[in-house]
């Protein structure tokens, strides 16, 4: 092989450079795995198992949205004897009372920016302008 002295170190540098994100993450503490806050009220039950919610809560929310808004079907869902309204503000945020500590913790980590909160009121936002009835 010609130019062994330059090619091999060059290759090594290249491999290190390309895999940089992997081993940087392994040693760094800059972006730890997110730990979303569990419901402060101590609820253990959700509308679906945690693993399913983690993977597909967005599909569920879209389904609810279409059923409630477009089909006008606003029936409550009953899971294990507990009733839930179908909606972000009506169901999710009743137990997960902090958007910042729950939703944002993963969304920021995964760098997704759902537009839910452009319209829907997070508990934090609600508190800013409380109804004075």
């Amino acid at each position: 092989m010609y130019n062994k002295r330059t090619i091999i170190p060059g290759l090594a540098i290249f491999v290190v450079f390309v895999t940089f994100p992997l081993w940087f993450n392994a040693f760094s503490t800059a972006s730890p795995t997110p730990k979303p806050e569990l419901p402060p009220g101590g609820e253990k039950q959700c509308v679906a198992p945690a693993s399913e919610m983690r993977a597909s809560h967005m599909q569920l929310l879209n389904e609810w949205r279409d059923e409630v808004l477009r089909d006008g079907d606003r029936q409550l869902v009953t899971v294990d004897g507990k009733q839930y309204g179908r909606g972000l503000q009506l169901a999710c945020m009743q137990c997960h009372t902090s958007k910042e500590k729950f939703c944002d913790s993963c969304h920021e980590y995964a760098s997704v920016k759902p537009y839910c909160w452009d319209c829907h009121l997070s508990p934090e936002e609600e508190a800013l302008k409380k109804e004075t009835l």
């Binding site: 808004l69 477009r70 089909d71 606003r74 503000q89 302008k129 109804e131």
Partner: protein, 275 residues
């Protein structure tokens, strides 16, 4: 080489085109595509035709409607404001004091503006001196639904013309189609203009169209529309199923002389006025 590249480009282009158009074709050909907007309307439409041909067929669907008894409002502008404010609170409607950008679901306006087709020539003092209540008519043949390019506004099976703010692209074609000026566009972020939040209802974002929803979210919970509830004692607003001959609203319509806004346009408004 050149020929192969060309062949590749041809195939790639054709595939891309097919890929882009596939969802549209699938949606258009599947029967459920129209379910959200057209189905409910189609049923009542048939019912209407049957009625006009003299057949004794009674519509089986619900069609919500409203009667505004303006006589109860005459000389009481504060009663109008009560209804308007209740709606504002319940639906997180921003208060933008600027005619260009304001958002209105239910508001008040002079007779000549609300009923431009009715003569205002030497009209009675009562009509001159009082404002009239204006809101979405929840038409049986809504032009806004007809023109919307994304089905973001649609007619629910219960007759309510609803909005899906998630889907609205803000083209404002519905505002062109509506002959009643019932629709408002969010020209900027509405949140700074909302005084207090109702936590049970979302706000809107900038760039979407909004309008009265006949309190669909309250009706589902067995409540009455917020404007009606606010003026409950006065008996000025009636709400109910126009297709149910036993409903209170039908009794009112049978007994009183009511008018609709611009009935000649064929939109079949579901809001009636006693003036």
């Amino acid at each position: 080489m050149d020929k192969q590249r060309r062949k590749f480009l041809k195939i790639a282009g054709a595939t891309a085109l097919a890929g882009i158009s596939a969802p549209a074709v699938v949606k258009l050909t599947s029967s459920s595509a129209m379910a959200s907007s057209g189905h409910g309307a189609a049923v009542t439409e048939d019912a209407h035709k049957a009625v006009s041909h003299g057949a004794e067929e009674v519509p089986t669907t619900v069609r919500f409607g409203m009667v505004v008894d303006m006589r109860k409002f005459y000389g009481k502008p504060e009663l109008l404001d009560k209804a308007i404010d209740a709606c504002r609170k319940v639906h997180n409607i921003p208060q933008i004091d600027n005619k260009k950008s304001e958002i209105k679901w239910i508001w008040k306006a002079p007779f000549e503006n609300v009923f431009p087709e009715h003569s205002g020539y030497h009209s009675s003092n009562i009509k001159e001196d009082n404002d009239f209540l204006v809101l979405c008519n929840h038409c049986d043949e809504p032009p806004c639904v007809r023109v919307c390019p994304t089905k973001a506004t649609f007619r629910l099976p219960n007759g309510i013309v609803a909005m899906d703010f998630h889907r609205c692209i803000g083209c404002r074609f519905c505002m062109m189609g509506c002959p009643y000026g019932a629709r408002s566009f969010n020209w900027e972020n509405p949140r700074p203009y909302i005084k207090e939040y109702n936590p049970d209802f979302p706000t809107r974002m900038r760039g979407v169209v909004e309008k009265c929803n006949f309190c669909g979210e309250r009706i589902a919970l067995g409540k009455e529309p917020a404007c009606l509830e606010a003026v409950k004692g006065s008996g000025a607003i009636f709400f109910g199923d126009l297709n149910d001959p036993e409903s209170e609203i039908r009794k009112v319509l049978e007994q009183e002389n009511t008018i609709q806004r611009k009935p000649s346009l064929g939109t079949k408004p579901s809001v009636f006025y006693i003036v």
